[in-house]
């Protein structure tokens, strides 16, 4: 990835447009027609359209980030309203690139259709 040297040295540049995760949508829990299993979530990843590609993401860590009214303490930073639920991609789901994930705490129903971040670590490249 060769890029031309920028004229301005941006040394302490916070990762502004630095997205280091793959966007995904929480499309629902694993389910049959009439019953659902809340412990396992189905994520639809951006730009992943088949089972082979989805396999790459298995094992990667996953976060659901959301905001709440009350501020909570954050390790090493000021208390903030941003909260997250972490999880991992457990396996692929179906043939068109969806993926199953399990979170430390089951996702709330309000997360349906919301953005979930699929991180690039633990990496194996």
């Amino acid at each position: 990835m060769a890029e031309a040297a920028p004229t301005v040295a941006r040394k302490n540049d916070p990762a502004l447009n630095g997205r280091l995760y793959v966007k995904a949508v929480f499309s629902g829990f694993t389910r049959g027609q009439r019953n659902q299993n809340e412990t396992s979530s189905i994520l639809k990843l951006d730009n992943v359209y088949n089972k082979n590609d989805a396999q790459w993401y298995v094992g990667k860590r996953v976060v659901y980030v959301y905001k709440a009214h009350n501020k909570k303490n954050v390790a090493g930073a000021a208390p903030s309203r941003v909260r997250c639920i972490w999880g991992r991609v457990t396996r692929s789901h179906g043939n068109t690139g969806a993926v199953r994930a399990k979170f430390h705490k089951n996702l709330p129903a309000t997360a349906l259709g919301q953005r979930i971040r699929v991180m690039l670590y633990p990496s194996n490249i």
Binding site: P6, A15, Y21, G76
Partner: protein, 253 residues
């Protein structure tokens, strides 16, 4: 057998009947050999004061016979055989250091995926022996990443490599050097204070600065020798990020 040319196959005097079970026990063999008869050592019998095995103790109650004989030395409550599982070989915990991925060799440019330096491209120097963590450097001048440790899982190895064979790392760069030191916690009601203030201010030690300069100087000259050094400078200064419609699973790093 001396002298016998065509001796009929003969079993040894003592032989194995089944795995570990000999025909004659060691004691039997000792007597069979006849050495016992030649032994003349005789130990003079020491006069041993007879130790009372029982002690008579009085017992209450009119119908209980008045006294009991109590053993002076009680045998073990549990036989050794009951504790076989307890004495199972205690395995020494020697966790292996995580093996380095084939794509990571000294001089590889890595992309850091997490932490305050996420997205930054960094030069891999070596894997530390004790922890297995990767020692990397920015170089600091290019992207503000100091000599630092990272775990292998939090890193993508690119195919870009810098020839760092000429870089001599100081012997002092070990896990102990990088280990975090926590200031002693004052327990006099200061607990709440520490959590609220967050980190204690980290001050870079002079040793770190000199080591950084030393290593970076060598690394920067190595980068200059690279055929694409003109682009590498900018490469190191910019962060990696995923853009629209990019597919990490299909990318060749």
């Amino acid at each position: 057998m001396a002298g016998a040319k065509k001796a009929t196959p003969r079993f040894r005097r003592n032989y194995e009947l089944a795995t570990g079970i000999m025909r004659f026990s060691a004691a039997r063999m000792y007597h069979k050999r006849g050495t016992a008869l030649n032994k003349k050592t005789k130990v003079a019998k020491k006069a041993v004061a007879p130790v009372a095995k029982f002690v008579t103790k009085k017992v209450g109650g009119s119908k209980n016979g008045g006294d009991r004989k109590v053993l002076v030395k009680k045998g073990p409550t549990f036989l050794k055989e009951d504790h076989v599982l307890d004495t199972a070989a205690k395995v020494r915990r020697n966790p292996k250091v995580q093996s380095l991925r084939k794509s990571i060799t000294p001089g590889t440019v890595l992309i850091i995926l997490a932490g305050r330096h996420k997205g930054k491209r960094v030069v891999f120097l070596k894997q530390l022996e004790k922890s297995g963590l990767l020692l990397v450097t920015g170089p600091h001048k290019l992207n503000n990443v100091p000599l630092r440790r990272i775990g292998q899982s939090f890193v993508i190895a690119t195919s870009t490599k810098v020839d760092v064979s000429g870089v001599k790392l100081p012997e002092t760069l070990t896990d102990a050097y990088f280990k975090r030191t926590h200031a002693k916690v004052e327990k006099k009601g200061e607990k709440a204070d520490i959590f609220a203030s967050g980190h204690q201010e980290y001050k870079v030690s002079e040793q770190r600065k000199t080591d950084q300069k030393l290593v970076d100087k060598a690394v920067l000259t190595a980068i200059k020798k690279h055929p694409e050094h003109k682009f590498l400078r900018g490469y190191f200064s910019t962060r990696f990020s995923i853009r629209k419609n990019q597919q990490p699973h299909a990318m060749v790093f």
